[in-house]
Symmetry: C2
Subunit: 334 residues, 2 copies
């Protein structure tokens, strides 16, 4: 590392399954990364203590003067102005003042300069959208939508080169747009949300339901007698090997996504839609049926204008976007 000529920021991605803490350079490259499991039952005080420890670890041996700050992306409804988590379907209590607690924990650590670093909190899909905006589209593109396909289904919106927050700071909940009004109950209370069909666990659940109907599939063998061990990755691999049931699951995944995205396209007329997150690795398995539905359900002028991108950074888009956001916030303050 040539510390004299470059600067860094730290990105944190708090997901439903893993937490990633990374030292990122100004080009969006991860220099050092720490990943650990999310323990959704952990006390908030322990959670912030653990996070502060990881932050100290990730910047070890890098003089704090070369670090611009810390950006955190977290799943759920975030108050980015107050730095608190209002509600998260996957984790913690309601109304957690995360930044205040984290700063206290950072001060207690007594690591030289750590507690003085500015820290920002954003929704995880918003930081992913920011990462996509910085690294995955041509520089002339100023508007985009980023759809995170993981445990949950989220969305981040960039308009005019800025994160669009909405009045309460929680725009972009694409996963909780209704696809089928009479569909299954979602964790949010609504029925037939997109997430209730294509959240990672729900993709697996749809496959399990089909298997239980007695359909023949290689997934049974892959699961080795325990269907609960099945993953989205297993279903993607089986589909690539032409397993009929697995292909059907991905076709349906694309169709549910297509119904929602067609409505989003008719409403927002976006230039670029970026997909990221674990489920996005399935790529054409859902993209092809998705596009077919979009042709049926959106205006030709709208759908011809939009470009679909599967993020190269994918699972790292959030953590890198969170780090790069620090740079933008600092630039704005100048």
């Amino acid at each position: 590392m040539n510390l004299s000529s470059c600067k860094y920021s730290v990105g944190v991605d708090i997901g439903g399954t893993n937490i990633t803490v990374a030292l990122v350079n100004m080009q969006g490259r991860i220099i050092r990364e720490i990943k650990y499991s999310t323990d959704i039952k952990m006390e908030v005080s322990l959670f912030v203590k653990q996070l502060a420890d990881k932050l100290a670890e990730v910047i070890m041996n890098v003089p704090v003067k070369f670090i611009m700050g810390i950006g955190i992306g977290a799943a759920g409804l975030i108050d980015h102005e107050k730095g608190s988590i209002k509600y998260s379907p996957n984790m913690y209590k309601k109304n957690v003042p995360l930044l205040d607690l984290l700063k206290t924990a950072m001060r207690k650590l007594n690591v030289n300069g750590l507690a003085e670093l500015p820290v920002f909190l954003e929704n995880d899909a918003n930081v992913a959208a920011w990462g996509a905006y910085q690294l995955e589209v041509e520089s002339r593109v100023k508007d985009l939508i980023c759809i995170t396909l993981g445990t949950g289904v989220g969305g981040g919106i960039i308009i005019g080169g800025e994160i669009y927050h909405g009045v309460a700071g929680c725009a972009g909940e694409i996963g909780h747009m209704t696809v089928e009004p009479d569909g299954p109950k979602c964790s949010c209370g609504n029925h037939g949300c997109l997430e209730s069909y294509i959240g990672a666990g729900n993709i697996v659940n749809r496959a399990i339901a089909e298997i239980k109907k007695g359909k023949s599939t290689m997934l049974k063998k892959i699961a080795g007698g325990n269907l609960n061990r099945l993953t989205v990755k297993d279903i993607a691999e089986a589909a690539k090997k032409n397993d009929k049931l697995a292909k059907k699951i991905w076709d349906e995944t694309g169709e549910y996504l297509g119904k929602t995205v067609a409505s989003v396209i008719n409403l927002i007329n976006p230039e670029v839609i970026v997909f990221c997150g674990g489920v996005s690795h399935a790529g054409s398995l859902f993209l092809i049926p998705m596009k077919k539905v979009i042709v049926e359900r959106s205006f030709v002028s709208h759908r011809k204008a939009v470009k679909y991108i599967i993020s190269r950074l994918s699972n790292n888009l959030g953590v890198v976007g969170a780090a790069l956001l620090v740079r933008q916030i600092n630039d704005k303050k100048k």
Copy 2:
């Protein structure tokens, strides 16, 4: 009129049923108004000739130096940069270069100064949104969504105090978001669009279908033996008189609208939603069932943040918004 102390602009609203041409002052007040029926079979050359005549008529005796320009709102997919109508479900051919044709017609008229006035074309829901933004919300509000409930169902989006156009210039097609994926075929080609349930004609069609099932209702008497004569206004009046069938039609109208608006709220997290157009006069008949569905289908943080307004200007919101847009475009050029 004290012409020395004020300025005017001209607004035009080209709807599926009527065309309104109005001289509007800078406070958004209509000074003079001409209304005539839309003839959807009229040749484009005749249509622009007629419109040029009405423009000359509406500014009669007002020196052109006091008129800032002409703003036109038209239903359909509009290219506001080129000044052309790409597609309109209700009228004309495809790809009509409206502004070019109109300017030629204005020149031919040889009315002193008329042909020199700047003319702008916008989508009708966008100009309505602009009118709402200028006249119907508190000045601190910078983001809003305007939903036009008429022959068609449209939407205009204001973000950061500007019309949000989308990349192809045609954002806001709320009427063509899917409510029921297996619903009836819509004029746009999709199935189960919001408009296919709550466009004015489709509200009436749903009532007629119920009447034909033999349901008892005062609408039969109102129609006087010819169900095709029924209007949305008739159904609203019957509902106000507690007619069960009419109330059911409005409940369903509110429910369809609520399903779509809940998705829009979760996605955009808007501060204000303004309803305008003929159907919006039904007010609480659809607002109450709409809000009930929104409570079931949107996040509490999102729905608590939004305020619903039925436009006071309603049918005139488009023509006034189109006129006021001229002022904004002129201000920007300065």
